[in-house]
Every structure is written in structure tokens, then in C-alpha cells.
């Protein structure tokens, strides 16, 4: 049961991160293509976005690992 819980936690966390990162990167590349002069600002925003989006899945991985070891 612990393994199943861990798999669901990691899977859903990674799914969310994947969708979020995909949206961030695609919009940034689109923005750079439209306005190459705004590249620096867009990349900083992308950097912060990616960092914050990935915080939750990392927590999910850690919780999954703890559940896997205690279950």
C-alpha cells in the first residue's frame, strides 16, 4: 500500500510539474520569438516560474520516499 501511495504521489506531482513547466517554457519561447529585445526579462521570469513550479513535486518526491520507507 505504501508503494502505491508513493507511486501516486510522485506520478501526480511529476504530471503537474511537467504540464506547468511545459506551459512556462512554451510561452517564454513564444515571447522571445515575438520580442527578441525582451529576452532577458522573459528568461528571468521563466527561471523563477520553473523554480517555483518544481518546489511542490520535490516535496511530493520526499513525502513519497518517506511513505515508502515507513509503510
Amino acid at each position: 500500500m505504501g508503494l502505491l501511495a508513493a507511486a501516486i504521489a510522485v506520478g501526480l506531482g511529476a504530471l503537474g510539474a511537467g504540464i506547468g513547466n511545459g506551459l512556462i517554457v512554451s510561452r517564454t519561447v513564444e515571447g522571445i520569438a515575438r520580442q527578441p529585445e525582451a529576452r532577458g526579462v522573459l528568461q528571468t521570469t521563466m527561471f523563477i516560474g520553473v523554480a517555483l513550479v518544481e518546489a511542490l513535486p520535490i516535496i511530493a518526491v520526499v513525502i513519497a520516499f518517506i511513505v515508502m520507507n515507513k509503510g
Binding site: V10, Q43, F47, V50, L52, I59, V62, F65
Partner: protein, 123 residues
């Protein structure tokens, strides 16, 4: 790109202060496991952040050279979180698990605070 490096440099500076504070706490208080856990968590969190900066640089280079963009290294960051939890679970007598997890998230909180301060100053 310069802005990203500036953010990273500021993060480094704040983390050194935090690490010094944790080292003092580890040395002079009775909460040794909590502060040791925080130190490990912060180090892994900062490693995560460093990987992100490096991958973003690579991504930028690939974009400007019109090559195929590499991945952003999410798997590596997940693995690093996994490793931090593994360290805390392997040596529970030295590292407090909850403080390792809190330490892992400190760079993200600092990033958020840094951006809020930046926006307040520039409005």
C-alpha cells in the same frame, strides 16, 4: 541572463548567513539534530538551485544557436530531494527529517521573498 546570475549571487549570500546561523545553533544549543538537518536541507536545496541556473544557461545557449533545446533537469532535482530525504532517514540520530525538508525549501522561499522585495523597490 545577468539578472538570473544576480539572483543566484544574492541567494548565495543569504544562504551563507543562514548556514553560519545554523552552525552556531548546532554548536551552542541542544537542538543539534534540527540545525544539522537544516544545514543538509539547505545544501541540497542550494544544489537544486545551482542545477537550475546551469540548465537555464544551457537552454539559453541552445536557443540562441538554434539547436535542439536540452531538458531542464527536473529529474536531477527530484533525485536530489530524494537523496536529502534518504540522508535524513539513514541517520535519524544526526539529522531531523522535518528540518531537512524545511531546509530543502528555504532557497525557494528566499527566491520568493527576493522577488517581492525587488517588485516593492521598483514600483
Amino acid at each position: 541572463m545577468l539578472e538570473m546570475h544576480q539572483i543566484f549571487a544574492r541567494q548565495k549570500k543569504m544562504l551563507f548567513f543562514l548556514l553560519a546561523f545554523c552552525a552556531l545553533g548546532w554548536g551552542f544549543t541542544s537542538f543539534k539534530t534540527v540545525f544539522a538537518g537544516l544545514i543538509v536541507g539547505v545544501l541540497f536545496g542550494h544544489y537544486n538551485f545551482w542545477i537550475l541556473v546551469r540548465r537555464m544557461e544551457k537552454f539559453d545557449r541552445a536557443l540562441s544557436e538554434e539547436k535542439r533545446a536540452p531538458g531542464l533537469g527536473s529529474g536531477l532535482r527530484f533525485a536530489s530531494g530524494f537523496a536529502a530525504a534518504a540522508v535524513a532517514l539513514t541517520w535519524p540520530t544526526y539529522f531531523h527529517l522535518v528540518s531537512v525538508v524545511i531546509g530543502l525549501m528555504i532557497p525557494y522561499v528566499l527566491l520568493l521573498v527576493d522577488r517581492i522585495v525587488f517588485h516593492v523597490k521598483n514600483q
